[in-house]
């Protein structure tokens, strides 16, 4: 834990790494060809369904389309990840 913090503290990311990381994230959304509006709609629908069964923190939930595996330029098998904080497992 401490090592991790030290590392972050002393070593600033080089602009090369920043560029690479920004591009990787940018291209995922570019390749998926899915508008932010549509992502928002999917998110609210998922929240609605899950809320039927448990209490969730819908303001802090996140969904993201990621690419699974390489080689197909990542476009062939996109995966939808949902990160939904649960407040109470019982309704």
């Amino acid at each position: 834990m401490r090592k991790f913090n030290m590392k972050r503290f002393f070593r600033r990311k080089s602009s090369r790494e920043v560029a690479r990381d920004r591009l990787k994230i940018l291209l995922i959304s570019d390749r998926v060809n899915c508008s932010p509006e549509m992502m928002e709609l999917i998110k609210t629908d998922i929240a609605k369904v899950i809320s039927k069964y448990m209490k969730i923190d819908s303001t802090n939930m996140e969904i993201q389309i990621n690419t699974k595996g390489k080689g197909n330029r990542g476009i062939k098998n996109p995966t939808l990840y949902a990160n939904i904080p649960i407040l109470d497992l019982r309704k």
Binding site: S14, A19, R20, L23, L27, D30, K70, I75
Partner: protein, 265 residues
């Protein structure tokens, strides 16, 4: 000649070196004894003629051919320095809609009979000019620089080419500065190849001789300078030869990754 190869040089973003690459690769192929035709498909903003130093010899252009104002042969300008190298210039006073993809295919089919290689210099963007340029091509060279904006556009272009059924796409990374890569201030060639996942055909170092060559209207392929050597290697790789990457071409920790992708092609 039925086994001629039609290659489109494209990038999405403007100003990354499509025209320079077309001029150098074409000249390089001609220097190796191939019959080469360069077609400038950027209607309204032609530039390949000046980079080649042939701007004073234009009589007819691509639009004249398409509209039937002249025969294909009349629009071809022969390069005096390299026998076997011809340029079909674009029209300067018209716009992209003057030519359709179908018409491009027809012109290319006609040229295929006389040339080993037909190189199409694609305009920037993804509109009609791009559609025209890729219509008759069976192979693509994607030019990019190690910058976020150029790589993003290149990725988009690769997606569009895939959607159009292109099987063979190769990457040329232009204007790489190894000194900046070493300092961590520029993405390395392997970073770019990792992100775009397209086989690498060449790395052209940032070289001021390119500017000088463009000033003079004479491609520098084969000249004794970093970019000249890099373009020579690209020309040899296009013909299927396996040429190791120059030490000046690569950044660090680069070799294994690139060869991995390179051999898959």
């Amino acid at each position: 000649m039925s086994n001629s190869e039609v290659i489109v040089i494209t990038s999405g973003k403007g100003g990354v070196g499509k025209t320079t690459t077309t001029a150098n690769v074409g000249t390089g192929l001609a220097k190796m004894g191939k019959k080469v035709c360069l077609i400038d498909t950027d209607i309204g903003l032609r530039n390949l003629d000046v980079v080649m130093g042939l701007e004073n010899r234009i009589v007819y252009n691509l639009v004249d051919v398409v509209e039937g104002n002249c025969r294909v042969k009349q629009a071809l300008i022969r390069d005096k320095r390299n026998p076997g190298l011809y340029l079909m210039p674009s029209a300067q006073t018209r716009d992209k809609s003057a030519v359709s993809p179908g018409q491009m295919v027809k012109v290319i089919e006609h040229l295929k009979e006389q040339f080993d290689y037909i190189l199409l210099d694609c305009p920037a963007g993804i509109e009609q000019g791009f559609q025209n340029a890729i219509a008759g091509a069976d192979r693509a060279l994607i030019v990019t620089t190690p910058e976020v904006s150029a790589i993003r556009d290149a990725d988009r272009i690769i997606g569009l080419l895939e959607a159009n059924g292109f099987k063979q796409m190769d990457l040329i990374i232009n204007r790489l500065r190894t000194d900046m890569v070493r300092k961590g201030d520029m993405m390395s060639a392997s970073d770019v190849v990792d992100i775009l996942a397209v086989p690498l055909l060449g790395i052209i170092p940032d070289d001021e001789n390119v500017v000088v060559a463009t000033n003079q209207g004479e491609p520098l392929v084969g000249h004794d300078c970093p970019a000249g050597r890099a373009y020579s290697n690209v020309v040899r790789r296009i013909q299927g030869e396996e040429v190791p990457f120059l030490s000046t071409e690569k950044g660090f920790s680069f070799w294994t990754k690139v060869t991995g992708i390179f051999h898959k092609a």
